[in-house]
């Protein structure tokens, strides 16, 4: 037992103006609508590739660094010969029909230019559509099966206690990551995130197979996902507690990585509506279109998404910009709803990033964390530790992380990413993680019952600060609603970072849907989720 008192979410501790809250949600709905319309009227090369992957297209052409994934080859060929305006699946299943129903053979034939894709007509078209629909249903079954399988495994081996302690491994080599992840799980980690190599976000393809050459992280590949999931299942059995696996669906291949996560039963995915725009300079249209499809996959696979608002506070000031975190959470919540995610799947992110030299830093952090808890009572909030003000002074850093844990415990944060005392120096050592777990065990155990006892002074500093942040959030959302999402990003309203609608990487992969666009995978996903595509 980590804690004496069971985990709970302290609510009703601050008097929150319900009217303001409701207005924030209405504004978010208004802001999201045109963006969702964009997603509903466009596709991207990566969405089409994700769909091909889901119906079973895989493998690579060529070797080593030159290797090109078959899904890329097929989409490129279809794009060149037919265009992608009506989707890749009908031309692809037309090719499948001419290859005797063999998906691999059709993919290889297209990739090898032995077969030129075409838009079939008449009976051929109906045949391709029927095949595509069947394959889509099977693919979506497989995603849904991940959710069922997870439930079964959790039931059998046992559920982890909350808060879930979340740790990162980042060696660059999957074979090195595995023992580190298993060691972390044995020492108490409930969630393991394999952080990705720098640069993966900018790759317009997903690398293939087990990899061992990442920088500051390990490539997200389907095989790496499979290997790590199996390794964590193994320790989970040993520990009698399901150990969750996290990766990152962001960057140019967000939809494909989401699809792979669904197929390999990952449990959580970083999947923010804006992270790639702000922090990797991915084109905003591409990102908004891709995130919608990705979130549908996550929704059906029972994956908890993690949003990335914590990052805003690395580029912007954590006091002055606290409201931007909340505003973005309302937007992320809205975009999650429209993609079919339930509240229980919304791991909205926020962070403990105020400069420790600011007077009352701890009080302010408490106010922010409690406010967010009150605003999203059913979401499994993801709380992020200090990073920006972590220096080479690991001793002070350890204490700072302890204060973060304390605020997390008092405000009932569900998913707690443990801070590393060496954050300001390098990606974590094995022992850094172990010490972080010791710190967390102490605080979450020692303060387990304390949160339930605390009440804040009515009209006191905590409540006043919370009200101020909520009000600033409302003002910001009003402004965003007024000028629109794209203009708001262009004005640097999020993360103090300026991006333009046509700027950044990946716009070339955005395709406006023509009348007659067909995507049976997306259709089937939205049908089962009960949402419009």
């Amino acid at each position: 037992m980590r804690t004496s008192a069971p985990f709970f979410r302290p609510l009703g501790r601050l008097r929150i103006d319900e009217g303001v809250l409701a207005e924030c949600r209405e504004l978010a709905t208004e802001i999201a609508a045109p963006v969702d319309h964009l997603a509903a009227t466009h596709t991207t090369t990566s969405i089409e590739r994700a769909c091909l992957r889901l119906v079973g297209v895989d493998g690579i052409e060529g070797r080593g660094v030159e290797a090109v994934p078959i899904p890329n080859r097929v989409v490129d060929e279809i794009g060149a010969s037919v265009g992608l305006e009506r989707g890749a699946l009908i031309p692809f299943f037309d090719a499948v029909a001419s290859c005797g129903g063999d998906i691999d053979a059709a993919a290889d034939a297209i990739a090898g230019r032995a077969l030129t894709p075409r838009w079939p007509q008449g009976a051929d078209r109906d045949d391709a559509a029927r095949r595509a629909k069947e394959a889509a249903a099977a693919a979506v079954n497989c995603i849904e099966a991940a959710a069922t399988a997870r439930r079964d495994v959790v039931e059998r081996v046992g559920e982890a206690e909350r808060p879930w302690l979340y740790l990162i491994v980042a060696t660059g080599d999957i074979h090195e990551d595995i023992p580190q992840a298993q060691a972390a799980a044995r020492n108490g980690a409930d969630v393991i995130a394999v952080i990705r190599s720098t640069g993966q976000s900018l790759l317009d393809y997903v690398p293939f197979g087990a990899t061992s050459e990442g920088f500051a992280g390990t490539y997200a590949t389907q095989e790496n996902f499979r290997l790590m999931r199996a390794a964590l299942d193994e320790v989970g059995e040993e520990l009698g507690r399901y150990v969750r696996l996290t990766n990152y669906a962001s960057g140019l291949c967000m939809p494909e990585i989401a699809a792979m996560a669904g197929m390999e039963r990952l449990d959580m995915m970083l999947n923010d509506c804006m992270y790639g725009i702000m922090f990797r300079d991915i084109n905003m249209q591409r990102t908004f279109i891709d995130q919608h499809f990705s979130r549908m996959v996550h929704a059906l696979a029972g994956i908890v998404i993690n949003t990335g608002e914590d990052n805003y506070l690395t580029t912007a000031d954590a006091v002055d910009s606290a409201h931007t975190v909340l505003a973005s959470q309302f937007l992320n919540e809205r975009f999650a709803f429209t993609a079919g995610l339930s509240e229980e799947q919304m791991g909205l992110g926020h962070a403990f990033e105020i400069d420790p030299d600011v007077p009352d830093q701890i009080l302010l952090e408490l106010a922010h964390a409690q406010l967010i808890r009150e605003c999203f009572p059913n979401a499994p909030l993801k709380y992020m530790p200090p990073t920006k003000h972590m220096t080479g002074n690991i001793f002070q850093g350890f204490l700072y992380d302890g204060m973060f844990n304390l605020i997390g415990a008092l405000t009932g944060q569900d998913i707690v990413l443990l801070g590393m005392m060496t954050e300001g120096i390098h990606t974590p050592f094995l022992s850094d993680r172990d010490l972080a777990l010791e710190n967390a065990r102490y605080i979450f155990g020692g303060a387990a019952g304390l949160g339930g006892e605390l009440r804040y002074e009515a009209g006191g500093a905590v409540e006043r600060r919370a009200a101020q942040v909520l009000e600033e959030c409302r003002q910001m959302l009003r402004k965003v609603a007024d000028i629109g999402m794209f203009a708001a990003i262009e004005a640097g309203m999020f993360a103090d970072t300026v991006r333009t609608p046509a700027g950044g990487k990946g716009l070339a992969g955005v395709v406006q849907r023509a009348p007659g666009y067909v995507n049976p995978v997306a259709d089937e996903l939205s049908r089962r989720l009960g949402i419009g595509a």
Partner: protein, 257 residues
């Protein structure tokens, strides 16, 4: 009187040092002895394992105290002393004007796959860092901030397009020596384009030290906590030198950095 330095625990010359490390071995008396032996090999007399913690079946963490047998003579060390003067703001502008008769054009980028821009922005943007304005503040400098994830080829193109005088390269991610590799790449690309020699080539990032510059073919490298005014002073001093301004003229109102 000896100028030799030894670590200070709670008495002069006691040489006491604290260190921690992990060994890939299960916790046991043998593991503890292994940690002690390792400490002795590192030059610690009478080491003590004050903490041994099992981390799963395969690893143990140790905190060790010992007294080092070694000492150093700081006077005998070669230290890359800053060789440029810290100039007051107006002097920076004046020197650039006198040397170039036009603005100094600075191209800055964070290269490779590194997406960290805050360090570069701290140096370049008006907002600056630690109470110091960034390079954009000086009228005699024109700043082209290319942001992050910039390839060496894009830097070469920007140098051409803007007829740059100086290139500033930032690198934050250091795992597997990514930062070294990326600076080398930029150096190679500029050299190949025949631009290296006419440029002031400056690198920076939290894990660099100035003495790495010559080996990487850079004119100067700045490390953690660099202030923009130091970089501005360096650039002005360097263009002044290249333009043949006398040392006296360059350091007129300067304190030595």
């Amino acid at each position: 009187m000896s100028a030799l330095l030894r670590p200070y625990g709670d008495a002069t010359g006691d040489g006491r040092v604290q260190l921690s490390f992990t060994l890939p071995i299960a916790s046991s008396e043998r593991a503890r002895q292994a940690a002690l032996e390792l400490a002795r090999k590192m030059g610690f007399a009478e080491p003590q394992v004050v903490h041994m913690k099992e981390m799963g079946p395969d690893f143990s963490f140790f905190i060790v105290y010992g007294a080092t047998a070694h000492s150093v003579d700081p006077a005998g060390l070669t230290v890359a002393e800053p060789d440029f003067p810290l100039l007051p703001s107006p002097e920076i502008n004046r020197i650039i004007r006198d040397s170039l008769k036009r603005q100094l054009v600075v191209v800055g980028a964070c290269t490779g796959t590194d997406a960290h821009t805050l360090g570069l922005d701290a140096i370049l943007s008006m907002k600056g860092f630690a109470g110091d304005k960034g390079l954009e503040y000086w009228q005699e400098m024109r700043i082209v901030n290319m942001g992050a994830q910039v390839s060496p080829g894009e830097i070469v193109a920007a140098v051409d397009e803007h007829a740059a005088d100086a290139v500033l390269v930032s690198q934050v991610v250091t795992q597997r020596d990514a930062h070294i590799f990326h600076l080398q790449e930029v150096h190679a690309a500029l050299t190949e384009a025949g631009l290296r020699d006419r440029l002031i080539l400056v690198g920076g990032g939290p894990r660099f030290s100035p003495d790495q510059a010559p080996a990487l073919g850079f004119d100067r490298i700045f490390g953690r906590g660099t202030k923009p005014s130091e970089v501005a002073s360096y650039l002005a001093w360097k263009v002044g030198r290249r333009a043949g301004l006398s040392e006296a003229d360059l350091t007129r109102a300067a304190t030595l950095a």
